[in-house]
């Protein structure tokens, strides 16, 4: 196989491998934002989820308990966000930043003892077992959480379109006064949306510590929780587009390592910056002072 195919293969595999956490965080954020709240604390949920999953997996011996525990912790953080951000005279962004710091703070504080020991990790499904090539085998080794994320994306799209709760969430996010007139409790709807959203972000965190890279370190996230917020804008608040955007960001992340693996050393660190550059480009393209964004929930972070 020549190096072009090697690089392409590696990038595609990287899209799946690196895109999974983006997928969970962005789906969670998409759900939260659809209800009219913007939660920047997703980064905190991601880190707290990563730490919790690793610790619980280490103590219980089962990585799946870790994933569940991470989800629980994420939902608690989401509850905290929902409560704080719906108090009078607070602001989503400020509360989000506070929770980002809080979430990472508790993760670092309780996570110190788990940096050294190794916990049981999530298994990969060897879809490339038919091939002799170790590269193909490695590329097609896919974490079950990715498929779970894939299902979640399609489920969420259906949920928002065709269920009572989905319609209520959209009403709350787009026109709170209409939702109130329909007797929908904004508080309840937004609390559940924030909890579910934060829980999903924490599952994304468990993927980081339990599959790829597969260890607990404080630098594990690299701001992925924040990038996922940009990604939701890029995806126009559409869960299926979140999937596409996550894969794109994941792919961008793996350009550097893939090129290095193929023996191309030039600009390694520059290539590693590509997801961040992509974030900036998305922001510049989609933000305009003159027009509001199509697809954006009408009441997003308006404090209404």
């Amino acid at each position: 196989m020549d190096s072009f195919w090697l690089v392409t293969m590696a990038i595609l595999a990287g899209a799946v491998r690196g895109g999974t956490p983006f997928l969970f965080v962005s789906l969670g954020e998409c759900l939260t934002e659809k209800s009219g709240k913007i939660n920047l604390g997703q980064e905190g949920s991601l880190l707290a989820g990563a730490m919790t999953a690793y610790a619980v997996s280490y103590h219980s011996g089962s990585p799946w308990y870790g994933v569940l525990a991470a989800m629980g912790v994420g939902m608690l953080l989401g509850l905290l966000f929902a409560w704080l951000s719906q108090l009078p005279r607070t602001n989503d962004i400020a509360v989000g930043i506070a929770l980002m710091l809080f979430g990472s703070g508790i993760a670092f504080f309780f996570g110190k003892p788990y940096i050294q020991p190794s916990a049981p990790l999530l298994p990969g499904i060897p879809l490339g077992a038919w091939s002799d090539s170790t590269q193909i085998q490695a590329a097609l080794r896919i974490c079950p959480l990715f498929f779970l994320g894939l299902l979640t994306a399609y489920f969420l799209a259906w949920f928002l379109r065709s269920t009572r709760w989905g319609l209520q969430i959209r009403a709350a996010g787009d026109q709170p006064s209409a939702a109130r007139a329909l007797g929908i409790s904004l508080k309840a709807v937004r609390t559940w949306a924030a909890m579910a959203g934060s829980g999903l972000a924490a599952v994304g965190g468990s993927y980081l510590s339990l599959y790829y890279p597969g260890a607990w370190t404080e630098a594990i996230s690299g701001g992925q929780g924040l990038m996922a917020v940009a990604l939701v804008i890029f995806a126009r608040w559409d869960p299926k587009m979140c999937l596409v955007a996550s894969l794109l960001f994941g792919g961008a992340q793996s350009v550097g390592p893939a090129l290095q693996a193929a023996g191309i050393q030039t600009g390694y660190y520059l290539w590693n910056a590509s997801p961040y550059v992509l974030t900036l480009i998305v922001m510049v393209i989609t933000c305009s002072t003159k027009k509001s964004l199509a697809g954006a929930p009408g009441a997003l972070a308006t404090g209404e």
Partner: protein, 523 residues
């Protein structure tokens, strides 16, 4: 919230749709917003609820709708006393409300909006079945058609209003409360919607309470009328036994009858002989969504003239207004004041004495946290005596210059140091009007919806001030969706529709029907 089984819903909605309110009182702390108000709506009739702002109309209907339960009093639906503690109770008894501000979710289609409004939205919605059901409803029961697949944000105001009414019929409401339903419609749309509702009451399908301040609607549409004033019942009766003067006397409390603004003396000299103060040349403006909101608009405004721009809200007036006020860049075209290019900078504003009074002044023309005196000084604070060397502010002078204006414009406030956001809407409007009109060399004045939400007295006052300014030789442009207001105070009228000026007429010879068709875009 409990869901009602369909068979119960059927039972309630089949009940004769009469509504009796018996001595309803609503207190907020020490303040009595509605005081022992009783009224009766017999089945199949229209009852008008009339009153100035703050008279207690909304408070009363919110009690009926269960938004805030009444402090005391009884509500009877179909002859039975009913406890209404929550909006779902009102819905259970077949009472529905159409709000002044639309309660459709803009990003959802009409179908989605209708299904969402049901008390028993299925956990998982089968869109195919719901669509089929709605199509059948539209074909059999609905008195008018709306496009089911369109998003609410794509509907015109009239279609939205119709959708709101359809929603209530779809929910099988038998008693309908309409809160100023025609404020966003063209005269033709208003007549159409009201006529359809009238038909449905005559057919015995609905009873209606309509909140309004338009006498025309009371006389052409209602059977009975209740007038509220300051939370109390000011009068009640059959519409056919009453006339305009007695209604106005009830509203104003008998002491000061609603005196019509002395109709403005129409321009005696032709406009062409006077100097042009403002010239708008082929102006195009983009809206928030990036689409063209104002398209190729040109007009001239002469000194000593009141020019009106009529139109249904949302046809580009706001964007035009924002360009005139320097808040939004023009895409193409230009503005000229007194023959010179005008860019809306502070220097231009001062040089041409070009003042604007945008709609919703608290949001668009105030610094809400600053005191009233400081807000009044926003035009002059950098000029002596309010500032020394153009930068050192003299707060005592700012305060002092506000005092005579508070007096002259009878602004009700605790004092010049009150933050302006603590003032009521009418008083904010007066304060900003004081700011914009009090500078003596004022030459050009542009106002938008100057009387929105004001009571009779305040409306008269604003109209009088505008007429006075006109008589001083000020060039005045009034943008308003209230046609009656424009007919009263303007010398010349333009009609704006779809972002364009579609019609022009001297007000003295204006034909309401022709203006209406142009407002609706059928000109």
């Amino acid at each position: 919230m409990t869901l009602i089984p369909p068979e119960n819903l059927e039972r309630f909605t089949q009940a004769p749709a009469s509504l009796d309110l018996y001595r309803i009182t609503k207190k907020f702390g020490d303040f009595t917003a509605a005081d022992e108000i009783s009224l009766t709506v017999p089945p199949g009739t229209v009852h008008a609820l009339l009153g100035e702002n703050g008279a207690g109309k909304s408070t009363l209907v919110k009690c009926v709708m269960g938004f805030h339960p009444a402090t005391s009093g009884e509500i009877m639906v179909g002859g039975h006393v009913r406890e209404i503690q929550h909006p779902s109770d009102a819905r259970k008894y077949g009472i529905g409300m159409v709000y002044q501000h639309f309660t459709l979710v803009p990003s959802m289609t009409v179908t989605e909006n209708l299904v969402l409004s049901r008390p028993d939205v299925p956990a998982a919605v089968n869109w195919k079945r719901e669509t089929a059901r709605l199509e059948e409803f539209m074909a059999t029961e609905a008195p008018f058609k709306v496009p089911l697949h369109k998003r609410a944000s794509e509907l015109a105001a009239g279609e939205k209003q119709k959708t709101e009414i359809l929603k209530q019929l779809y929910l099988k409401s038998r008693i309908l409360i309409l809160d100023e339903p025609t404020s966003v419609l063209t005269p033709a749309e208003a007549t159409e919607v009201l006529a359809l509702l009238r038909q449905m009451t005559v057919a015995g399908r609905l009873s209606i309470i309509i909140i309004t301040h338009k006498f025309r609607e009371v006389f052409s549409f209602a059977d009975d009328v209740t007038v509220l004033r300051r939370g109390k019942l000011a009068g009640q009766g059959k519409v056919k036994d009453l006339d305009r003067d007695s209604l106005a006397a009830m509203m104003m409390g008998g002491t000061s009858s609603a005196k019509p603004v002395p109709s403005a003396p129409r321009a005696t000299t032709s406009t062409s002989s006077r100097r042009t103060a403002l010239r708008v040349k082929q102006l195009s403006v983009l809206g928030d969504n990036g689409l063209t909101a104002v398209k190729d608009v040109s007009f001239e405004l002469a000194e000593g003239e009141v020019l009106g721009i009529a139109g249904v809200a949302g046809n580009g007036q706001r964007e035009l207004m924002e360009v005139l006020g320097g808040q939004r860049p023009a895409a193409t075209g230009s503005l000229e004041a007194h023959g010179q290019p005008y860019h809306g900078t502070r220097r231009d504003i001062l040089a041409h004495q070009f003042h604007t009074l945008p709609e919703e002044p608290l949001r668009n023309a105030c610094a809400p946290m600053l005191s009233m005196a400081e807000n009044i000084a926003l035009r002059t604070f950098d000029q002596p005596p309010q500032a020394r060397w153009k930068w050192l502010l003299n707060f005592r002078a700012i305060r002092k210059s506000a005092l005579p204006l508070i007096e002259a414009y009878s602004i009700k406030t605790r004092g010049p140091d009150t933050p302006i956001r603590d003032l009521s809407g009418g008083n904010v409007q007066r304060a900003i009007l004081a700011r914009e009109l009090s500078t003596l060399p004022l030459k050009i004045l542009v106002v938008s919806e100057p009387c929105f939400g004001l009571d009779f007295a305040a409306t008269d006052f604003v109209h009088q001030k505008i007429t006075e300014a006109r008589d001083r030789g000020v060039a005045v442009l009034v943008v308003s969706s209230d046609l009656d207001e424009l007919l009263k105070i303007t010398d010349r009228l333009l009609v704006m529709s779809g972002g364009q000026i579609t019609y022009e007429t001297p007000t003295a010879t204006a034909d309401l029907a022709v203006i209406g068709t142009h407002m609706a875009g059928h000109g």
